[in-house]
Structures are given as structure tokens and as C-alpha cells.
Symmetry: C2
């Protein structure tokens, strides 16, 4: 009787392997060049796109949990890469934005991020990249509504 399960063929396992390798490599790249974690980079990236976001906004944009955001924001404020101001209508919230230094860092990291993405897909054809991207989007959309548990 043949064994009924082969871990190396298990799609979620291979997906996890790939994602961990890619994220690990990118994390190394950002850390070596600019001393920031992927979480911090996500905050910076989003604040470049959506200045004056609150921590809750970031939570929605980045799918990070609020503790992680709180800690990333704390470190980035300490390094003066982002700054906070009071929210007009909500005394609990603070509006966050990049400082000039934060914006500079973002502009320096962007090409690095793009190079990582480029390297990731460099062995794929244009069609394959498109397929891969579309399938991931499809899965992300369905996953949100269908928790596996």
C-alpha cells in the first residue's frame, strides 16, 4: 500500500517554503541596507501612499495586528522616520506621516523592493507572472471569506 501523503507535494507546505524564503531574503536586504524590519517597511510604505493614517488605518491596509503596528510605529518615531500629530475628531487616535528622513528612506528602499520582486519573477515568463499574480489575488479574496478552520 503506497503512502497516502507526501509532504513535498503538499501545496500549503510549498507555499509556506516559498514565502518564507522570499520574505527572509527581503528582510535581510532591508535590514542590511537601512536597518528596518519588514513590519516597519510596511508602515513606511503605506504612510507614503496614505499620509495621516492612524494606527487603525494601518491595521486595515497592512493586515498586521495592532500590537505589531504599535511597536513598529514606536521604533520609527524614535528614529524620527515618522511623526505623529493629534487627530482632530478623536482624542484617542494619532495621525501618522513620514518625516523628510522617512520619505527619503522610502525612496531608497523602493528600488530595492522592486529589485527583489524582479528577481523573484525573473525565471517566469510574462504570462506566468500574470497567472501567478491573478491566482494569488483570487486566493486572497476567497481566503478572507473562507477560513479553513
Amino acid at each position: 500500500m503506497p503512502d497516502t501523503f507526501d509532504l513535498e507535494k503538499f501545496l500549503p507546505y510549498r507555499l509556506s517554503l516559498l514565502s518564507n524564503r522570499v520574505s527572509g531574503a527581503i528582510a535581510d536586504s532591508y535590514r542590511h541596507s537601512h536597518q528596518i524590519s519588514i513590519s516597519e517597511w510596511r508602515v513606511i510604505a503605506i504612510l507614503g501612499q496614505y499620509p495621516h493614517s492612524t494606527a487603525t488605518d494601518l491595521q486595515h491596509f497592512t493586515a498586521m495586528d495592532k500590537v505589531n503596528i504599535s511597536r513598529s510605529v514606536k521604533r520609527l518615531i524614535k528614529r524620527q522616520l515618522i511623526a505623529s500629530e493629534n487627530h482632530e475628531h478623536d482624542g484617542r487616535a494619532r495621525k501618522l506621516s513620514l518625516t523628510a528622513a522617512g520619505n527619503d528612506l522610502r525612496n531608497e528602499v523602493i528600488p530595492r523592493a522592486q529589485a527583489c520582486e524582479q528577481q523573484l519573477t525573473s525565471t517566469l515568463s510574462t504570462d506566468e507572472i500574470k497567472q501567478f499574480s491573478q491566482i494569488i489575488d483570487k486566493l486572497l479574496r476567497s481566503e478572507t471569506s473562507n477560513p479553513i478552520v
Copy 2:
């Protein structure tokens, strides 16, 4: 001037989101039903396929680091799901295998794993599943030789 970077379109980011969601859901499933982590499951899965593997063998099969393997093995031995015996030719290594209980657990978790995989791909067509799987393999093969850093 349009902003030059959109995190939500960044492929490594979306890949990470997807993988984290899938792995998280599977981890919940295994933990609730059989009180094992994904790392422990990987060890059990591999030992079902390759009995008498050493920790180093597991390291190669599962791409986990040796500390993680050591700890998973320790917990599984404590729960008597795997057993170890001396290695004939190497006094440092131990040969690991599933106990009857470990084998039973593996057989119970396999259909659960398969259901997770099935659910993951349930919104994709047969063609898309094939494409996705092939592309991931292609990327895994190229990633090993091409560290992004």
C-alpha cells in the same frame, strides 16, 4: 507625479499574506484536533514517509532549522508519538521513527491536511491549480540557487 510604489500590488507582500493566512488556518486546525504544531506535523509526516531518519535528515527534508527540529522531536518523544534508537555507525545521531500512536495520529491528520489543501484551491479551476503548483515549484527551484540578497 504618481507614487512609485503600491504595497498592495507588491507580489512578495501578497505572497506573504496568503501564506500566513493558509498556514495560520492549518495550524489552528491541527492544534485544535490533535494538539500539534505545524513543525511537529512536518516531522511526523516525514517520519511516516522516511522512517529511521535522523534529525539531520529531517532538516534536509523539511527545510526547518535544527533547533526547531530538536525541539519538535523532544516534544513528540515526550508524548510518545515518535521513538528514537541509536544509529549503527554514528554515536552522535539517533534514528527516529513513529510509534504506533504517532502513526495513528498521522493517519488522522492526513485527511485534515488534504481537506485544507482542497479548500485552499476550491475557488480555482483545474488548470489554475496546475499552473499555480508548477509556478511555485519553478520559483522554489530558482530561489534555492538565487538568494535575493
